[in-house]
């Protein structure tokens, strides 16, 4: 009896405080305090061996004057932009394919769908390991054998030259990430008002016209969400690249996350690693803000 009373009073009090409390506590511990600390560390020259905490801007100075800072940003973009475009296009295509194959009740649709999802269920590290085996540059490598099938004399380089290495990373990432956009878009297609197509069929619109005049415009809010989510995910991709190239050759696939990891864990430089982490944090926040604006605009 008394219990009900307490609850019903809180019902009236109209404050979400208690409901949000658990989330607030864990977020404070795992996000807020660490962020405060990392901001603090970025203004020091601390290392693992020497935890100095004197305030200095030196770490930022080193970061921005480093000859490789700009190239790191370029590499990151060169990895993220094609990854996102390909994941969305491929995800869209496969979603359309599975949706319409399902409508036609073709057997085997389920197998294709499971195959795409399987790649996504693979831990990123494993995906990296798997593609490293695929891209072996020895004569007995799988992709090598396929290339030689077409052009027997070719000496392709998949991981040992800057641009091909980046392409290989994008391929591996698209392989793993496509399932995610596929699911999002597939869901959109499932709830798609199909009567719009029927009108189009009467209008004798062809396949491309249907795609560009109906499907894409109707799905465009969903596609935008998809682009934003995948962009953030791709910016944060770490385990796959670590296992696939480790950032090499040279620094040609060293995206910002790998750079932070290397600075902290192989060079033991906490100060500069934290300063670089702040750059990533800024990118993350910016992307989130765009996403948020978009979501709230949509609601209004």
């Amino acid at each position: 009896m008394s219990k009900t009373n307490v609850l019903s009073r809180s019902y009236q009090s109209d404050g979400p405080f208690f409901w949000l409390l658990p989330l607030a506590v864990v977020s404070l511990g795992v996000f807020v305090l660490p962020i405060i600390q990392i901001v603090g560390m970025s203004f020091t020259e601390a290392t693992f061996r020497d935890p100095s905490d004197a305030f200095t801007l030196a770490s930022y100075g080193k970061l921005f004057s480093n000859p490789d800072f700009v190239s790191m940003l370029v590499v990151t973009l060169a990895f993220v932009v094609p990854s996102v475009i390909l994941q969305v296009i491929l995800g869209f295509a496969i979603a359309m394919f599975i949706d319409s194959a399902g409508d036609r009740r073709l057997p085997g649709t389920m197998i294709v769908r499971t195959a795409v999802l399987a790649a996504w269920a693979l831990p990123g590290v494993v995906a990296g390991v798997v593609w490293k085996m695929m891209f072996s540059e020895l004569d007995n490598g799988l992709v090598m054998t396929l290339v030689r099938f077409v052009s027997p004399e070719a000496q392709p380089r998949f991981l040992s030259s800057s641009v091909p290495a980046l392409v290989s990373c994008v391929v591996a990432n698209v392989w793993r990430g496509t399932a995610y956009s596929m699911i999002l878009i597939y869901a959109g297609l499932k709830t798609f008002p199909k009567e719009l197509y029927e009108a189009a069929v009467i209008d004798r619109a062809n396949l491309w016209q249907r795609l560009f005049k109906i499907t894409i415009p109707v799905l465009s809010p969903l596609l935008l969400i998809c682009v934003l989510l995948i962009t953030v995910q791709t910016f944060n991709t770490f385990d796959l690249l670590r296992a696939l190239t480790g950032g090499g050759p040279g620094r040609s696939t060293e995206v910002i996350v790998l750079n932070i990891y290397r600075t902290i864990f192989t060079e033991f430089d906490l100060g500069r690693g934290s300063a670089t982490a702040m750059v990533l944090l800024a990118i993350n926040i910016l992307m989130t803000w765009v996403y948020f604006r978009f979501l709230t605009n949509k609601e209004e």
């Binding site: 609850l7 019903s8 979400p16 409901w19 949000l20 658990p22 989330l23 977020s27 511990g29 795992v30 996000f31 660490p34 962020i35 600390q37 990392i38 560390m41 394919f97 194959a101 036609r104 073709l106 294709v112 769908r113 795409v116 399987a118 790649a119 269920a121 693979l122 831990p123 990123g124 590290v125 494993v126 390991v129 798997v130 085996m133 695929m134 004569d139 007995n140 490598g141 799988l142 090598m144 392989w175 699911i183 597939y186 959109g188 499932k190 969400i225 989510l229 953030v232 910016f235 944060n236 770490f238 385990d239 670590r242 902290i264 982490a277 990533l280 993350n284 926040i285 989130t288 948020f292």
Partner: protein, 281 residues
């Protein structure tokens, strides 16, 4: 055969062609890994491509099972995934309810903050987290890692479930309230059953995400006996010390198998849950 039928058959043929292409792209890396995992050392290093080992070495799997930490890593992964999902639900369900059922001033700001946490790279926070865990004396424990997992999945889960709860009509709450039901009762007896598909799809997404967590465990744990499989198997990557490519491949296959089996067994259920849940993405 009528021209209409002919057209239908040829279109179906194109579909099969497309399906096979997609299948090849997505499955061949896994099959290649399976093939490598069954090779002998000379086959691994043979001059010509060995599509499939002449005499599949299932013993490689036995060796991985007996000599490495992989079985324990798999068990750790299982523990981490299941317990952290339970924990994150305990944290996220009330919050999602709170955010979907209350109007308050800083709601927009709260939502934005949650989203920022969701989008943040673990690399940014893991070092301070490691030091904090050490100063609290809770480093190197599975349970503290479970808390970190749960906390890091919480923002995503809250955001996802909130969208789901918002599709439940307020009229149901009002009816329950008039009947004298408390909020807790309404949440557990009215909202949760309706939101079940959303919860299932969240669980699937969380399971896939947490199964592949890498940065948190590799930094927050010193004890290799506690590593989840995604971290543990990297130790089989060839070092200067031994030839382990085939074991690495075998461990990779073993690490995917549990999730893959779940996917195949619950295929229909998962896909419908995912697609229903994803709309609110």
């Amino acid at each position: 055969m009528s021209s209409h039928q002919l057209k239908r058959h040829s279109i179906n043929f194109l579909y099969y062609l497309g399906g096979i292409a997609i299948l090849l792209f997505f499955v061949s890396p896994l099959l290649w890994t399976l093939s490598i995992s069954l090779k002998t050392i000379p086959e691994l290093f043979s001059r010509q491509v060995v599509w499939w080992p002449a005499n599949p070495q299932w013993n490689n799997y036995v060796a991985v099972f007996q000599n490495t930490n992989i079985p324990r890593n798999l068990l750790n992964s299982l523990i981490l995934v299941t317990t952290s999902i339970v924990l994150v639900m305990l944290i996220a369900v009330p919050s999602a309810y709170g955010l979907s059922r209350f109007r308050f001033k800083s709601k927009q700001a709260t939502m934005l903050l949650i989203l920022v946490f969701q989008m943040m790279s673990p690399v940014v926070i893991v070092i301070p987290l490691y030091r904090m865990f050490i100063s609290l004396g809770i480093y190197n424990q599975l349970w503290s890692l479970i808390i970190a997992y749960a906390a890091s999945s919480a923002p995503f889960t809250v955001w996802y479930l909130k969208g789901y709860f918002e599709t439940i009509p307020l009229a149901l709450d009002e009816a329950a309230h008039i009947d004298g039901a408390s909020r807790l009762y309404t949440l557990t007896r009215v909202h949760l059953p309706i939101a079940l598909p959303g919860i299932v799809s969240t669980v699937v997404l969380l399971a896939v995400q947490t199964w592949s967590h890498f940065i948190f465990p590799s930094i927050l744990l010193d004890d290799k006996n506690l590593y989840p499989v995604a971290v543990g198997l990297l130790d089989l990557q060839s070092t200067s010390e031994a030839i382990t490519v085939h074991y690495l491949a075998a461990a990779s296959i073993m690490s995917v198998l549990p999730i893959l089996i779940c996917f195949i067994v619950f295929q229909k259920f998962i896909v419908s849950a995912l697609t229903q849940g994803a709309v609110k993405g």
